[in-house]
Amino acid sequence: MPEAKRPTVDEVLAGALHTIENQLLPNLEDTWARAAAGQLMGTLEYARVLLAGDENVDAQVDAVETVVGGLLHDHPELAAVLEGSEGETRGFTALERASRLLSHAVANDSEAAEAIRTELRPLIVQQATDNLNETMTMLMAFGGRPRRVEH
């Protein structure tokens, strides 16, 4: 395992959070500036979450591609729904295809549509929930209320 530089990025972020909370905020009186400081703490905490986890969408895209591939295998007629759905990146294409399939399922009661609702939709909902949880620190700080920094 590679050896980290000192201080690490996470230590720098933790120090910045501590400084905003304990040295800057107590001396800020302007309401907008206080809100911005709290929101900045939320984005720095989000950066720490990213550092500790996964900053890219590759795993989510892999999962979407697998489910979409399975749907196309079982219901070849869905290929017509995806015609012309290629995007500039693999992630864009996968999510564009998922978008087309979910929209198709809204207006259909076919077996294929039911498969989209039961196989693809739960995955997309779960990924959206995961993304929300990952960014939750920013939402919690949106009103400008800073929280205690956890080291």
């Binding site: 999510l95 809204v106 207006a107 909902v125 959206a128 929300l132 960014t135």
Partner: protein, 328 residues
């Protein structure tokens, strides 16, 4: 992003050119008005001499932010002026400037309206709901309000607004959001039968009106206004912006009590999805504004990610429930 320290002398020069004064206008430190994220809002305190007398006067400065929410100054100003001319409580717009050489972005200046945009008392809240109902009762066809889109039939209005907000989302997004694309189709397929065409404010509720004592002085934030169904406004008020005042079921009863406008639970659920969709699409624009550096402030990052995702979470749950009910 407006740098107020740079902007202050430029605003003084702008006002000096616009106002008839003895020797130019002095502008005090700009005061950020701490409401809203769609525009930069500032109180401008100007002082000048006029016919030998000293004048102190305040204006509200409203500044565009790089395409935030996909709205623009021209449409908002035209609507506000038309509504004021129709006798509705709207601040008087003194000057509009589109030349980027002045502040770097379009802006307009309004006469300062005294009052508060904070929590209203019971009478002011009732006055607000009554006036919003009055807005919906206006004969908009006689007012010649210059909206960019005028629907032909009520269902057309729903489709226009869904497409409008999807365009804003697609402008701001990095990757497609399948649940928003699904919602767009769901909204078009499941629109209620009893739609109407009225003026719609689009962003009503606490913080978006100024009140003084028991009375509303001005409706603010008109950039979402359009012709559509009034329940869009009632759900925006009762399902989103007004939740700090009371919970949605209480709002539904309160609206019926004050206005006589009864909203069924099914209609309430539909317009709840619509407004969550609208909010999520609009909020996506903040993502582009943040990552391009047009406004790198942390509120842009939060709006473009977490706030948007919380709305997607909400609407996808309602749509998922509709599938479950269909299968029962």
């Amino acid at each position: 992003m407006l740098n107020i320290e740079v902007a202050r002398p430029q605003i003084a020069a702008f006002l000096s050119a616009k106002l008839s004064t003895d020797g130019g206008v002095e502008v005090g430190p700009l005061e950020r008005i701490t409401i809203g994220h769609s525009r930069g809002m500032f109180r401008v305190n100007a002082s000048y001499g006029q016919d030998g007398a000293a004048v102190e006067r305040s204006f509200a400065l409203r500044v565009e932010q790089a395409g935030m929410f996909g709205t623009n100054t021209l449409d908002e100003v035209r609507t506000m002026r038309a509504m004021r001319a129709a006798g509705f409580p709207v601040a008087n717009i003194r000057w509009v400037e589109f030349d980027p050489a002045v502040l770097g972005t379009p802006f307009f200046l309004m006469d300062w309206v005294e009052g508060s945009s904070g929590p209203p008392n019971d009478a002011a809240l009732r006055d607000y709901v009554s006036k919003l109902h009055g807005l919906h009762q206006m004969d908009w066809r006689q007012k010649e309000i210059p909206f960019a889109r005028i629907p032909s039939i009520p269902l057309d209005a729903v489709h226009q607004q869904v497409d409008r907000w999807m365009d804003v989302h697609r402008w701001g997004r990095v990757l497609p959001e399948p649940l928003l694309e699904e919602a767009a189709t769901w909204l078009k397929r499941n629109a209620p039968d009893d739609l109407h065409l009225t003026l719609v404010h689009g962003d009503p509720g606490p913080l978006n009106f100024i009140h003084d004592g028991d009375e509303v002085q001005a409706f603010t934030d008109w950039e979402f206004s359009h012709i559509g169904d009034p329940n869009e406004d009632w759900l925006f008020l009762g399902g989103m912006r007004g939740r700090g005042v009371m919970e949605p079921p209480q709002w539904r009863e309160y609206i019926a009590d004050v206005t006589g406008h009864v909203i069924t639970k099914e209609t309430w659920a539909y317009w709840d999805v619509f407004n969550q969709f609208k909010g999520a699409c609009a909020n996506t624009s903040a993502l582009r504004i943040f990552i391009t550096g047009a406004n790198p402030a942390p509120n842009m990052a939060a709006i473009g990610t977490a706030l948007k995702l919380s709305m997607i979470n909400h609407l996808s749950t309602i749509i998922g429930n509709s599938y479950a009910q269909r299968g029962e």
